[in-house]
Each structure stands twice: as C-alpha cells, then as structure tokens.
C-alpha cells in the first residue's frame, strides 16, 4: 500500500507530502493544477516496480526516467522539473506500508535518460499498477501494443500498458465467483458479456438474442465500463494492486456514473488501492453515499484537493470531506444554482 508521496519541484504539483489511504483516494481540483500529473507520477513509479526484474540503482535510474518520460510525455525528462525553481532538482519519494518497497529519487532540469536514485526498493514482488486514462482503450486491443512497441509514437505509455492488460485471459478457479459478482452490474449496464476472440485478440460483447457486437459499435461510455470489466475479469483489478483512474466520469451519463461509482468502491473494497481524479460532483456525491453505507463502512477513503492560491497551487487533504475547504466544482454548481434562482425571481 502506498502511504505517502513526498514530491518537490515536480511539474505543476505543489511541494508537499501527499498522504494516502489503503482504500479509495479521490483527487479534485480545477483544470491545470496537476491532478492527472499526480496520478501519472505515482503510476509511473509503481509500474516500474511492478515490472522490474531487478532493483539495482543502476537499472532503476534508467527505468524511472524512461517510464516518467513515456507516461507524461515531456520532450525530455528534465522538462518535468518545476520551472520556477531555477536549477533545483525534482525530488520524489514514495513510502509504502511495506517499507522495503519504498523508494526515493531525484532529477534535474538537465536530466534526460536517468535519475539519481537515493533509495531503491529492496524487496521484489510488487503489486501491479493500472492506469486508466480519460478515454476508453478497449477498441485499441490488441493492435495498439505491437504498433507502440515497433514505432516511435507519441502516445502516452500508460495506454500501451493498459491495452496489454486488457488482452489477458480471464481468471479461473475460486476467483471466478468473485469476478462474476463484480462484473454483474457492469455487464447489466453494457447489455451483454464481454469476451475475447482467441484468434484476433479483439474484445467483443455477447448480447443475448443479438449475438456478438464489435467494441467500436458500442457507445463510448459503455466501452469504458467494458474496459473496467476486462481488468476485473483478468484478475488485474480483483484483489490487489493499484488503480489510477483519470476522470472516470468522462463520456458517461449520470446513470452510468452511478454504475461506475459502485464498481470503483467495490474494486477498492476488494483490496485494490484506488486513486481517482475527478471533476464530477455527481460522482463525488455517489461515492460519498456509497461510503456511508454499512457495506463500505470500513473502507478507508481520503480526499485530496488541489487548490489555486495567490502564490501557486496548494494541496488540502483529509479523511473527511468536511475538512476540504476548496471545492471549486461545488462552488460553481451552487453559483449556477443561485444564478438560475435569481433569473426569474423578480419577473
């Protein structure tokens, strides 16, 4: 479990200690304050650990640099250093509950292919990390992986990583029952069962009475549900690991946001440490209600808000939503409500 990230001079993010809980971590904030960057930097580091075959400083120096560059797509690594800080290096340190899996490294504005590792994890067997971007990726399965691996493409590497996971076979054995339970609401919303064509590796939906439907024919929002469903059915998001999801609500109507909120909480409750960034008050309210139910009464949750201030961006964080002062999405909703109410009050 990721307990804390100490981040200094990284892109738009405020220098701070970001503390997380083992369950659901929700990040809010206006556009451009660094929500996605926070998800991506955490994902990049944990994905390096999950995929690493060795944990020597030498191998990690290059692996961190390559992954950060691949996931965040700067022209070169050093561009990720906060630009207002002169030549001060960017420092990133992740503290995990299993202390031997923690790490710390830094890089300077001139860095391109390596970072300086100050503390490397000493343990292996790191948990898998998954990043879901704002758009669906199921229609990219499986052709995107060889395309990305064989050509210089400026797509974010997290897309490639996640597409490669979508093509995995479904789990079998004792886990199948749990998978079926978690898939049920998603498949109900989609209107059929997801299956993978063994010959082509493409994902289809088997719709009762209609047969197989190609993924590109499915609505964009439903494809996002299918993407989550595949990651659950392959066991990637079943009971361990990390899920980073940028704007789960994008392309979804409120009815589907309700479904996705329930699945996010169920995934977190099953043992996956979940991090989401959102602009949706509807999603936040759904999560708040789910977390207040008896089913999820013990699920840890934490709220982080990136807030624009006169001297830059600050982070507010707490286990209680009531402690978060800056909720621009709520303020704007209320202001809109006021404007509407005032519109015709004095006809």
């Amino acid at each position: 479990m990721l307990k804390e990230a100490r981040i200094r001079n990284f892109a738009a993010l405020p220098n701070d200690h970001y503390r997380f809980c083992g369950g659901l971590n929700v990040i809010v904030g206006e556009n451009g304050l660094g929500k996605s960057q926070l998800l991506k930097v955490l994902y990049a580091v944990l994905k390096v650990h999950a995929d690493a075959k060795e944990f020597t400083k030498g191998s990690l120096e290059k692996a961190y640099a390559a992954k950060l560059t691949g996931v965040l797509r700067p022209d070169k690594l050093g561009r990720l250093v906060k630009r207002k800080q002169g030549n001060a290096p960017c420092e990133i340190a992740l503290t995990l509950a299993e202390g031997e899996k923690s790490c710390a490294f830094s890089f300077s504005p001139g860095s391109s292919v390596s970072v300086q590792v100050d503390a490397a994890p000493t343990a292996n067997k790191h948990r898998p990390a998954v990043f879901i971007p704002t758009r669906e990726l199921v229609t990219l399965c499986p052709w995107f992986v060889p395309l990305y691996d064989n050509y210089h493409l400026r797509f974010e590497e997290a897309w490639r990583d996640t597409v490669s996971l979508l093509g995995n076979p479904p789990v079998k054995g004792e886990k199948e029952q749990r998978v079926a339970k978690m898939l049920e609401p998603l498949e109900k919303a989609i209107g059929g069962r997801m299956e993978i064509d063994n010959a082509s590796g493409e994902i289809y939906v088997q719709i009762p009475g209609e047969g197989r439907m190609e993924m590109p024919l499915l609505a964009e929002g439903l494809r996002k549900l299918a993407m989550l469903g595949r990651l659950i059915s392959t066991g990637t998001l079943l009971d361990k690991g990390y899920l980073f999801w940028d704007e789960p609500e994008s392309n979804l109507n409120p009815k589907l946001i309700k479904t996705i909120a329930a699945s996010i909480v169920a995934v977190a409750d099953a043992g996956v440490q979940v991090f989401i960034a959102t602009h949706s008050l509807f999603l936040l309210r759904e999560l708040e209600m789910l977390l207040a139910t008896k089913t999820y009464a013990r699920l840890p949750h934490r709220w982080l808000a990136l807030a624009a201030q006169d001297n830059g961006v600050a982070v507010e964080q707490s286990d209680r939503m009531e402690d978060i002062q800056t909720l621009v999405l709520l303020d704007e909703e209320l202001a809109q409500s006021d404007r509407f109410m005032e519109l015709e009050e004095s006809p």
Binding site: L281, L284, R285, E288, M321, E322, I324, L327, L330, L334, Q336, S337, F340, M341, E342, E344, E345, S346, P347
Partner: protein
C-alpha cells in the same frame, strides 16, 4: 396584518392582502376533497394580492418527513391543479360565505403564482449543503406548471430577495 402559523413557520402577510389556510376550508374538507371524484389535494395557503392570486405549498423538512425529490414537483403540480378546481367549485358551491368570496377573489386575479416554501432537512454534508436543490425543483416545477405559472417560486425564509407580499419567521 394576517398571521398564519404552519408548523414552526409563521407567515406574516401585508395589510393589503387577503390570506387563508386553504386546506382548513370547510368547503375543501367537507364538500370538495372527496366530493369531486375523490382524494383531491390542497395547497397549504392562498393569498390574494391586488391582481395576483398566490398558491403556497410549505415543506418544512426540518421537522417533517421528506418527500422524495423526484416526486416533489409532481406532488405540488397535482395540488395546484386540484386547488384550482376546488376554487372554481367553491366560487359557486361553497356553503361558507367567506370561502365563496375568497374563491371569487382568487379567480378574478389576472395572474396565478405558485410558491413552494421549503426549509431544508437538518441533514447535510460538505458536498450537499442543500439536500433539496432549489434550482432543480424550480426547473421541474416550471416544466410541470407552465400552463398555470411559468415562473414558479422556490424559496426559504432566508431568501428575502423574492418579491412576495409576506414574510416568514
């Protein structure tokens, strides 16, 4: 000055207006509620002010069970419809002379206004400062009552910006 108590709320009407509790009318209780088909509903208060007839529904969720938000606009729309039907009948059929006169005044107005006075439930959260969102309710009411009042008012006692001929304490 007419004062009408409704639960914990006191409605104080200007001197120039007439106001009453419609759901206390003997016509409504004894003649109309189940004497025109059945189970007719009633708005809480009526007010006649100049050329405007006001129909007021009061929802004090601080002390009463909350109607589901999705049903609230429907409930009010039905009450408005039934109350107008009741007033049309009371104008000629009410046994109580004052009620008959009040109905005549209301139906002589050139404008009908619908008001939902709502006091929010005590339960709220950081994400939901108002459990019943007044703009959403107003939007639903506007759609459901466009033939009667295309500009229904949703207000609470803190809202002093709305031009109505009464105050609420």
């Amino acid at each position: 000055m007419i004062q009408i108590q409704e639960g914990q709320l006191t409605f104080v009407f200007s001197d120039s207006v007439m106001a009453c509790k419609y759901d206390d009318w003997s016509f409504y209780r004894n003649q109309f509620q189940n004497g025109c088909y059945r189970d007719n509903k009633a708005m809480d208060l009526l007010c006649h002010s100049g050329s405007v007839a006001w129909m007021i529904e009061i929802k004090d969720y601080r002390c009463h069970h909350r109607t589901k938000a999705v049903d609230l606009a429907d409930e009010i729309a039905i009450k408005v419809r039934d109350t107008l039907a009741g007033l049309a009948a009371a104008k000629t059929q009410a046994n109580d002379r004052d009620e008959k006169l009040f109905a005549k005044k209301m139906l002589g107005a050139t404008r009908l206004r619908v008001v939902c006075h709502i006091e929010q439930p005590a339960k709220s959260s950081r994400l939901r400062p108002q459990v019943i969102e007044p703009d959403k309710l107003k939007d639903r009411l506007r759609r459901e009552l466009k033939a009667i009042d295309p500009h229904p008012i949703v207000m609470d006692k803190k809202n002093t910006a709305v031009a109505v001929p009464w105050q609420v304490r």
